[in-house]
Symmetry: C2
Subunit: 273 residues, 2 copies
């Protein structure tokens, strides 16, 4: 059902009210912005509450997507701006309820490549990391303590919506402690690889070689992984850096490690073909 | 010489006045923000005009760096905020004049690995690309038409100051046309490699294998390289992407290609050792 709404105070627009200042994803909502993220939100496990957009954007989107009985609210750019508190030039947004997150067991199910974030607190880095993981066949992501919320609005956007489709779960709390969690992964056959810029670490290509299952640990930009976490892993791996340069951004480092992982598969398959 | 300035209208602070709204890098200035970028600005070819910061930040910085006769202005957080128009929490900034850019010949001098940006217009992507290039032993960067200004304030910051030290030049205009420029690189022994997500392209590892000198072309996020540019190169290379995913961010793709380039060196050296 599509409704035209002219009044910015209309309560049907409350889901996105003052979106600029109140990140309502903290209140149990998840937002998809732009056609790609709205599409991924519709395909996700998160129940979509409503879709809001400009006339032309809705025309295009609805011509290509069956949204069932989800209410659709058509607004002008000015109305949307007044409701959200900023000029939402993409002109298309959907709000969804947070469904139950994936469980750790669901994330592990059939997985051969995992990424584990120890303390990545930056929403943009989390989003980028999901985008890179999805792009390079990582099967799931586990979040340790200190990792920020992947469903934060900015993370969803930067991830290109992949936080809505790539299975992920919190790795502490409900499941077990961090260290016991890693032990469980090892029992399931995962090689645990810490990513660190430390020059004594082994080259990432050597660290990944021949592994059937890999769990790659990354830490926050700046401090990196804690010594505590690295001790619990099988190998410390580095991406060689040019002299006089710093480490790479955490999502970029992870992307390179994911690439190397995918590459080792490819060449193994070629070799045995 | 270090001066304490309390008056936000003091003309000695004009270099950074209203920095939030007017990106003065367009007026012939280059800015370094934070200790790392100020250090790199001091070590660069850009003549530093002044260093401005909070008392404690200056104490630390000046204890570790000889700034010669560059004037140093000590201000409070409040004064700095009033002058620049935003809360500059890093508390340390330096302004420099733009020196003459590197020439194309300077960039090519001794280079074995180059990156060429065709139309990367986003300042954050440019900055990230420089950071990644510097971190993985790329020797220089050439900018085609449409590439944004690497000395823009945001680009400097995101690059971690590497736009101030990694040689780069505009590849069109003064030098020669784009296509003739590529031809000149080829004559100098560079293998010209286009980076594209197109599935018909060859794996980046195959595209780089055995090359002595490589020039890697990347295009803007979204459209990517133009067909025109790709036709002028020797090989089209791709980073394999998982099904149902989009291409990676341009700086991330480039980072992976730089890594693969560095990797092929390493393993060649190991093989021949």
């Amino acid at each position: 059902m599509r409704f035209v709404i002219d009044d910015p105070t209309d309560p049907r627009l409350d889901d996105i009210r003052d979106l600029k200042h109140a990140d309502k994803s903290g209140e149990g909502f998840v937002f998809g912005e732009g056609p790609l993220c709205v599409e991924r939100l519709l395909a996700s496990r998160f129940p979509v509450r409503c879709i809001i957009g400009f006339e032309a954007k809705l025309d295009t989107f609805l011509a290509n997507h069956d949204v069932g009985d989800i209410p659709v609210y058509q607004v002008t750019r000015q109305t949307l701006g007044e409701v959200t508190g900023f000029d939402m030039h993409r002109g298309l947004v959907a709000a969804a309820d947070r469904a139950e997150a994936w469980t750790v067991d669901e994330v592990l199910e059939g997985a051969r490549t995992l990424a584990i974030m120890e303390g990545v607190g930056d929403h943009e880095n989390i989003g980028s990391l999901f985008r890179n993981a999805a792009g390079m066949d990582v099967d799931g992501i586990l979040l340790g303590s200190g990792a920020a919320d992947p469903l934060y609005r900015r993370s969803v956007r930067v991830s290109m919506g992949h936080v809505l489709r790539l299975p992920w779960a919190r790795f502490d709390g409900g499941f077990t402690t961090w260290q016991r969690g890693l032990e469980k992964l090892r029992e399931q056959g995962f090689r645990l690889v810490s990513l660190t810029p430390h020059p004594d670490a082994v080259h990432i290509a050597d660290a990944l070689e021949g592994a059937d299952k890999v769990a790659l640990l990354v830490g926050a930009e700046g401090p990196g992984l804690t010594e505590h976490a690295m001790r619990a892993t099988d190998v410390r791996a580095r991406i060689p850096m040019a002299e006089g340069t710093d480490s790479l951004n955490v999502a970029t480092s992870a992307a390179i490690a994911f690439y190397e992982r995918q590459r080792s598969h490819r060449f193994r398959e070629v070799d045995t073909a």
